[in-house]
Symmetry: none
Subunit: 416 residues, 2 copies
C-alpha cells in the first residue's frame, strides 16, 4: 500500500457556540479565513466529538484521543502527564503528583499556596529534592514546571495512587496541609500515604534551609518551604504510537503539557522560546518548523496552537477571531508549500472552549482532512454550521485518527 | 409483523476515491447508471463503514459483517474460511490451513512454491491426502482450491492454531520449508507442531509416488510433491443466520471464498461456471438466478459481484466504470421484475478498493436500501458524493444488516 505523509494542526479549544456579540456566529464562522476555506474545499469536514457526545474532556485526554489512544485504558491521571511535561521519563508503577511550591508558617499552617507566586529559583529547589530517598527503597524524582508548579514522582515497588491530596485546594490559606490519608484499604495505599508524609516533612526541611529560600527571606519574599501535592496518578504501560503504526511522528508546540503527552507517545518534539502558548506565539515559526520536519522525512507532524483555548477561557470572542485569522494566514504558507497529492493536511481541536461558557464543553469540534484523493464534501467555508453536512460529522477523535492512518497507508488489514 | 423478502447485491470493492483520470469522479459517480439512480430514488442511501472509520477489512471479514456477524467473536482467520470455500464442513475445534502444492528437491529445499503453477490433477492429489491419520487420532481433511492451492484441516481434540507456517513465503525458492515451531508454550501448540511435521513428511511420501506426479515428471513438469501450509485458524462456533433470524437465505456467487463464507453462515449457495468472478462474468445469469430464488421462496438473496474489486486492485478505473455500467444494465432486469412493495432491494460493498490505492481501504462504501415503504432520501443519483447526505451515512455494515432484517419483519422486539 502506498504511503503518504500527514500534517495535523490542533487548534486547542477551537470549537465554540453562537455568540451574540458576533451576530450569532461562532468565532470560526466569523473570522475571515480564505486559506482554511480553500483547505476545506479540498477534503472532508465535520464536527467531531473528542470522546462521546456531551462529554467534556481535558486537554490531556483530548490529545490522547487525537493520537488514537483508548483513554479508558491509557489515561493515568493528570499527575503522570505533568511529570512527562516536566521532562521526567516515567516508568510503569511510578506514582506522579502535581505539586505547588508553598509557604507554611511555623505551625504547619498555609500562608500561601503558591509561595508568593515564585518563578525564580524553582529549578534549583526541585533539584534539591530530586533523588531523595524514602523508606523501603523509594526514590523521589522532582522537576520544576511553569511558575510555582513542579512534578513529583515516587519510584519504587508496591505503590498506590489512592492517597488524599496534601493540598487542601484554593481558599485554604490559614489551614494546615492535609494529612495524606489512604483512600482505599490496600497495604499499598497505606504505605504510600506514609511515604507522602515522610516526603512532605523531609522536603520541608531541605527547602527551608535552601540558599534560594534564605535569599528570598532576606529580600522579604515568602519562602518556598513546602510542597503541596495533588492529583496523583499511577503510571501504566503506554505503547508508543510507532508500536501500533509504522510512522515516525513529530510534534511542534510551545505548551509543556502537549510536549509531554506527545513525548510519552513517542513523538520527537520541537519547541522554541518564541512558541509562547499565548496569543503572541510565533505561528509562522511553528508552521515553518512543521514544513521542515515533513521535508526531512517525518511521516506525521502535529502542530499545536494554544491561544484559541485561552481566549475561550477568558470569554474573549474577538481575540479568538483574531488568533484564527492569524492562523489562517499561516495556513497560506502551508498551502503554497505542500503537495496535497503526497501529504494530507488536517485540522481539529482537542475540545471546544466556548467563550460564553469560559471552560471546556462537550460540543463536537470543527475538523477537516484534505488531500488530492480525499472524497470532497463540497463545503468551501470553515465553521461549525458549515461543517454540519460534512462526511466527518459526528465521528469521534479516534475515528479521525484512524482515517488519517488509513489514508496515509499505515494500517493493517483486518482479515484477508 | 408482515414479512417481506430482500435482495442484496454486494459489489466487491465498489467504493473508491476521486480519480484524476475521471475528472475527479469516483468510478461509481462517473458511470452512467440510470437503473441504479432509479433504485436510489426509491430508498435510503449513504456511505457505510464496513467495520469502523478508517479500518481496512479483508473480503472475509467484510462479508461476515455484511451478514451481521460480530467479527471480534466469529472471525477465526483465513484458514477456516478457505476450508469452507473448498467445501469442507468445519466443526468447532478444527485447525484449518491454507496450503500450496509445491515442489521440493531431494534435500528438502523449495524448487517452486507453486509446483509449476499446477492446475490439473489437484483434485486427485488432495483426495490422496484426505482421510490421512496422524498420531493421537487426528484426521486430515484435504480439498483442492483454485490452481495450486488447497485447504488442509486437522480434526481431533486438543489442537491449537499457534504454530508457525511451514511456508516461508514469497521469494523463498532455494530455502528449505520452515519447521512448524509452536508459537506459544501450551501443550496443544507443541502437539500440533509435531502433527504438522508428521503431516508434511507423510504427505510428501504419498504425493511423490502419486500417479499424477509420475505423469508430470514424465512430461517434464515439476511434481507437486509437498504441501506448504500457512494461515492456520481454529474454527469456533458459528451460528447459522437462521438461528438468529427467521429467514431462509441464498447466495449467488462465482467466487469460492464468498460461497464458503455464506455456506458457513447457513446460506444455500448457487454458482455456475459462467459466474467467473472476473470482468467477463455472466451478470444477467446471476440476476436471473436471484429472481428465480426469490420466486421459489427464499427470503433473503445475496448476489456477489467480484469484478469491481479486481479493477481496483489493478488500478483500472475505466474497467471499474465499465463493470458498473454492465451491472446497472442487469439491475434493469430486477427493477422490471421485482415488486418493490414485496421485496427490498439494496446494494453495498464489503470494502472500498480505490484504484489509486490498489488495495482495500477504510473508506465507507456506497450503500442503498430501496422499497415502497422505505423512507426516501430524495437522492436520485448513485455515487459516494451524492450519498453523503443520505440517511445511512456513516452507519456500519452490521447496522445495514439489522435495518434490512427489520424492514423484512424478521427481528424480535427488544422489550415489550
Amino acid at each position: 500500500m502506498r504511503r503518504k505523509q500527514g500534517l495535523l494542526i490542533v487548534c486547542d479549544g477551537l470549537g465554540d457556540r453562537p455568540i451574540g456579540r458576533l451576530n450569532g456566529d461562532t468565532p470560526l464562522e466569523h473570522a475571515s479565513t480564505p486559506n482554511l476555506d480553500r483547505l476545506a474545499s479540498q477534503g472532508m469536514v465535520g464536527n467531531v466529538y473528542p470522546h462521546k457526545p456531551g462529554v467534556r474532556v481535558g486537554t490531556d485526554v483530548g490529545h490522547l484521543l487525537i493520537l488514537g489512544y483508548d483513554t479508558e485504558t491509557y489515561y493515568y491521571g493528570r499527575g503522570p502527564i505533568e511529570a512527562a511535561s516536566a521532562g521526567i521519563d516515567l516508568q510503569p508503577g511510578d506514582i506522579a503528583f502535581r505539586g505547588n511550591f508553598a509557604t507554611l508558617d511555623g505551625n504547619g499552617r498555609i500562608i500561601d499556596r503558591r509561595a508568593g507566586r515564585i518563578t525564580e529559583g524553582t529549578s534549583e529547589l526541585a533539584s534539591a529534592l530530586n533523588g531523595l530517598s524514602l523508606e523501603g527503597g523509594v526514590t523521589v524524582l522532582a522537576r520544576e514546571l511553569t511558575s510555582h508548579r513542579l512534578a513529583v514522582v515516587f519510584r519504587g515497588a508496591g505503590l498506590s495512587a489512592s492517597v488524599r491530596d496534601t493540598d487542601p485546594g484554593a481558599t485554604s490559606e490559614g489551614n494546615p496541609w492535609q494529612d495524606p490519608t489512604p483512600l482505599d484499604s490496600t497495604p499499598e495505599a497505606a504505605r504510600t500515604a506514609n511515604l507522602v508524609r515522610e516526603f512532605s516533612i523531609k522536603a520541608s526541611r531541605i527547602l527551608s534551609n535552601h540558599r534560594v529560600n534564605l535569599a528570598r527571606k532576606e529580600e522579604g519574599s515568602l519562602p518556598a518551604n513546602f510542597i503541596l501535592l495533588r492529583g496523583p496518578g499511577k503510571m501504566g504501560p503506554l505503547p508508543k504510537l510507532s508500536e501500533g503504526f509504522p510512522i515516525r511522528p513529530a510534534c511542534v508546540a510551545g505548551d509543556k503539557t502537549i510536549l509531554g503527552i506527545t513525548r510519552m507517545a513517542g513523538f520527537d518534539t520541537f519547541t522554541d522560546p518564541r512558541f509562547t502558548g499565548e496569543a503572541d506565539t510565533w505561528l509562522e515559526g511553528k508552521i515553518g518548523k512543521a514544513l521542515e520536519l515533513l521535508h526531512s522525512g517525518y511521516d506525521w507532524v502535529l502542530v499545536h496552537i494554544k491561544a484559541p483555548d485561552l481566549a475561550g477561557h477568558d470569554d474573549k470572542p474577538e481575540a479568538k477571531v483574531e488568533i484564527i485569522e492569524r492562523w489562517d494566514k499561516a495556513m497560506g504558507l502551508i498551502l503554497n508549500e505542500i503537495d496535497l497529492s503526497q501529504c494530507y493536511i488536517g485540522f481539529t481541536a482537542d475540545h471546544a472552549t466556548p467563550c460564553e461558557v469560559g471552560d471546556h464543553s462537550g460540543d463536537p469540534v470543527p475538523t477537516c482532512i484534505a488531500g488530492v484523493d480525499v472524497r470532497k464534501d463540497g463545503i468551501d467555508r470553515v465553521g461549525e454550521r458549515f461543517f454540519r453536512s460534512g462526511s466527518l460529522q459526528n465521528l469521534s477523535a479516534r475515528d479521525i485518527f484512524m482515517i488519517q492512518m488509513d489514508l496515509m497507508g499505515r494500517t493493517e488489514k483486518y482479515g484477508s
